[in-house]
Symmetry: C2
Subunit: 116 residues, 2 copies
C-alpha cells in the first residue's frame, strides 16, 4: 500500500488519480484495497468496525450482524486485514478488529480529489 504523497503532490490541483495516469504498479498497489471494499459484506463489516464505539469490534459482535456462517465472516475479516484496512488484536478468547482510518482516508484522497 503505497499511498504516500509528497508535499508537492499534495498541493497540486486534484487527486493522484486525476492528476496523471497511474502506472501499472501504482494501480496494482491500490486495487487490493478497492477489491477488499468491493463486496457488500466486507463493506458493511468495515463500516461496523469503524463506527463501533471505541473504534473496535469483537468478531462475536460481527457474526451476529449477518446471516452468514462464522467461517465466511472470518474469511472476509482476513481479506480486510490482509489489505491493511483492519488491525487485528487477540485478547483472551476474543479477537478485536480495529479500522485503519489512515488507510481509508489515504484511499479517499487518492481517488477523490475534485477536478481543477
Amino acid at each position: 500500500m503505497s499511498l504516500e504523497l509528497t508535499p508537492v503532490q499534495t498541493v497540486a490541483c486534484c487527486s493522484p488519480l486525476s492528476r496523471e495516469p497511474l502506472t501499472e504498479s501504482e494501480a496494482e498497489g491500490i486495487v487490493p484495497l478497492l477489491k477488499a471494499l468491493g463486496d457488500p459484506v466486507r463493506l458493511r463489516l468495515m463500516s461496523l468496525v469503524a463506527s463501533h464505539e471505541g473504534g473496535e469490534a469483537c468478531v462475536c459482535d460481527l457474526n451476529d450482524a449477518f446471516e452468514l456462517s462464522q467461517p465466511t465472516i472470518s474469511h472476509h475479516l482476513k481479506v480486510l486485514h490482509e489489505a491493511g484496512l483492519l488491525e487485528r488484536e487477540k485478547r483472551g478468547v476474543w479477537v478485536y478488529y480495529r479500522a485503519r482510518t489512515d488507510a481509508l482516508s489515504g484511499l479517499a484522497a487518492l481517488i477523490g480529489g475534485q477536478a481543477q
Copy 2:
C-alpha cells in the same frame, strides 16, 4: 432563530462509513463503484481519462495504452460507464469518455472521513 443541533449533527464526526453501520441496501449501492475501480486495468483507464487534457479521452487513445485486445478495453469502459464513473459521447466515428469527478469525490467522501 437559534441554531439547533440535530442528533445527526451531534454525532457527526467522520465519513458515513465510519459514522454508523451501513445498511445492506446502502452497501449494495456503493459496492458497484468499488468493484468497477477494483481492477487494475479499469483503475488505470479511469485515471487516464480523468487526467487527460480536456477531461476526456477517445477510445482509440485508450486502446494504445494497454497490451489488451480492443474488445477487452471496450468491456472495461462499459463497466465503468454502467457504474456511473464515465460519461460516454459519440462524435462521428469516435467515442469519447469523460470522468464523472462528482462520482469520484462522492465515493471518496463516503469512505474517507478522518476519525474524530
